[in-house]
């Protein structure tokens, strides 16, 4: 990856300072409510490439996800953000993609020969682009479905976990009187929060969110963003988004993905969100960022 020197940054930086300033202004000061010092790394990706049927979708990604921080992955569509995200919890096992490089979850080698994908997935939750509650299940059954998949049958425990997860997802007050109703009775935004609660109920260490607001209206989006900010202190979050402002509003770190000359996705730059938006190191980042906030 070429590391540009400051003098390669084009002169447009001055012209776009206003826009970048707006973005940087929205970005939260890094590490505001956390103890200073080097934070522990929750997930470590090194030289990860994902290939579909011989065609690489994203390659040579090396990225550390610090624990209990929000890392946003931004970039144009088709540049491999989602592909990379789904590699982290081995969702590609079912689709026939091949992966090289290594991913570590703490000490665990995610793709190690002894590693069970089911156990990886129960430690790394996932929220999808469109709300996907199980359509035939009640609200309660949806929330506890992950626990049941993982072999928990104790009713008191399920009830306790369901309440905790729904409170965390800011949904408890809305649904506590209709837990046995169909999940499809909820609005789109509420369904997405139900899906977040469903993921949280399994008490994952990492939560992968794949453009979780792309199917939602602005108000519902705001609620999800508020939720992400709340969860930040407890869980490591990776947020794929095409919305630069969303990345600026909720993330601590931002990684920028772009297509390289072979039209394969690559990670161009990663750093504290405020820095990436205000003084990017790579000229391509600047070009992309300024082109997408006007």
């Amino acid at each position: 990856m070429p590391s540009p020197t400051p003098d390669t940054i084009p002169t447009t930086v001055g012209e776009s300072a206003g826009l970048l300033g707006r973005l940087a202004g929205e970005a939260r000061p890094a590490g505001d409510d956390r103890a200073a010092g080097p934070s522990e790394i929750a997930v470590r990706l090194s030289e990860v490439s994902v290939t579909f049927g011989g065609h690489p979708a994203v390659r040579h990604v090396t990225l550390d996800l610090p624990a209990r921080q929000v890392t946003a992955l931004v970039g144009p569509s088709g540049c491999g953000k989602t592909t990379l995200l789904r590699a982290v919890n081995r969702m590609h096992d079912e689709t026939g993609a091949t992966l090289s490089g290594t991913i570590h979850l703490g000490e665990l080698d995610v793709y190690g020969p002894e590693t069970r994908p089911e156990l990886v997935r129960s430690r790394i939750g996932m929220v999808f682009q469109r709300p996907n509650p199980f359509p035939t299940m009640s609200i309660f059954d949806n929330v506890v479905s992950g626990l049941r998949f993982n072999g928990i049958r104790n009713r008191a425990l399920l009830a306790e976990a369901a309440e905790a997860a729904l409170v965390q997802a800011a949904l408890w007050d809305i649904v506590k009187d209709r837990l046995q109703h169909s999940a499809l009775e909820l609005s789109g935004g509420q369904q997405q929060r139900l899906c977040i609660a469903r993921a949280l109920a399994v008490e994952p260490e990492v939560l992968l969110m794949d453009e979780p607001c792309s199917a939602l209206d602005p108000i519902a989006t705001g609620k999800i963003e508020a939720l992400i900010s709340e969860l930040r202190s407890e869980i490591t979050i990776v947020l794929v988004t095409h919305n630069m402002f969303q990345a600026a509003r909720v993330s601590d770190l931002t990684g920028v993905f772009l297509l390289d000359e072979d039209r394969v996705g690559e990670l161009v730059e990663v750093g504290p969100t405020a820095e990436v938006f205000s003084s990017p190191r790579d000229p391509r980042t600047l070009e992309y960022v300024t082109g997408h906030i006007g």
Binding site: E118, N150, G151, V167
Partner: protein, 307 residues
């Protein structure tokens, strides 16, 4: 975040996390084993589903091949007990009866399907309901119907009566298949034709029909395959037991047919007749399988070309 109840302390969350992790790890072996058992049961179900097909095809081929000879195809049936009969009369009879049924059912089905695609509404609702009713009617009822409306008025058995029964059997299948084939043609194609100012009927004819050809061919071939093998509708009406000494082509006279031949000879006590039934069964089976495999190949080939 409210931390009112002990439910929400870090300790409670950590305890839950340990519990879920422990359970996930502890039960994984059991869960995977259960999955393997379930998969094995499903595989067994698949074997059980395919076993009858294998047994049927294998045994019919084994018994039928012994009967097959040139004579079997060119001779007509002999009276019970007299060896050396063939099924030329049954093959020709089936061809005549089915050809007439196709001549009636294919255009009629297409006309009705065109109407359904072109004019959705209450009329279409009535027609679709009638088609559903007809699809659900057991094929034996069609034989009774043909007996009442053709055999009784004409005063005797005839191949034509069989054709009427088979045509009624085919029409709802053809309608359904044609309609689905035409509905599968992308609407923007249709609208593009309309926007060019082409008359509605011509848009339907040219754009939709051409786009629907693979589906139309496949659907009609499958309906044909179904009609060829049906016994119940023709059993009472084409003239059973008429061991003709010549091949009949006239649909106004009684005709033989392969399925009826199998029924008659299969239930007979003479081993020679049973052997003949296996031979006829093999011919019929090959014919029907050939039709339905052709239908699928046509569909796949034309689909690929369309893309």
């Amino acid at each position: 975040m409210t931390l009112a109840a002990p439910l929400f302390t870090d300790e409670a969350a950590e305890a839950r996390r340990r519990l879920v992790r422990g359970s996930a790890l502890r039960t994984l072996g059991r869960r995977r084993l259960r999955g393997r058992i379930a998969t094995a049961l499903c595989a067994l179900a698949l074997v059980l589903a395919l076993a009858p097909l294998a047994a049927l095809l294998g045994y019919t081929a084994y018994r039928g091949l012994g009967s097959l000879s040139v004579a079997f195809f060119v001779h007509t049936a002999t009276p019970p007990g007299i060896p050396g009969g063939g099924i030329a009369d049954a093959i020709v009879g089936t061809l005549v009866i089915v050809a007439l049924a196709v001549l009636a059912a294919v255009p009629l089905g297409l006309a009705v399907a065109l109407l359904l695609v072109d004019r959705p509404g209450r009329v279409a609702g009535v027609i679709r309901f009638a088609a559903d009713v007809l699809t659900g009617i057991p094929s034996i009822a069609l034989g009774i119907f043909a007996y009442a409306v053709v055999v009784r008025p004409m005063g005797g058995f005839s191949g034509l009566a069989g054709s009427v029964a088979l045509a009624v059997l085919m029409v709802p299948i053809v309608i359904r298949a044609d309609e689905e084939a035409m509905a599968a043609v992308p609407t923007d194609l249709r609208e593009a034709g309309l926007a060019l100012g082409a008359p509605r009927s011509r848009v339907l004819r040219s754009v939709v029909l051409r786009g629907a050809v693979p589906g139309l061919v496949t659907g009609n071939l499958l309906a044909l395959a179904r009609a060829v093998g049906e016994t119940a509708p023709v059993l009472f009406v084409i003239g059973v037991g008429a061991f003709g000494s010549r091949v009949g082509w006239n649909p106004l006279h009684p005709l033989a047919a392969m399925p009826v031949d199998i029924y008659e000879n299969g239930t007979a006590a003479f081993p020679a007749q049973q052997a003949g039934a296996w031979g006829t069964a093999l011919v019929l089976l090959l014919f029907v399988l050939l039709l339905s495999v052709t239908a699928r190949i046509v569909a796949a080939r034309l689909n690929r070309k369309a893309r």
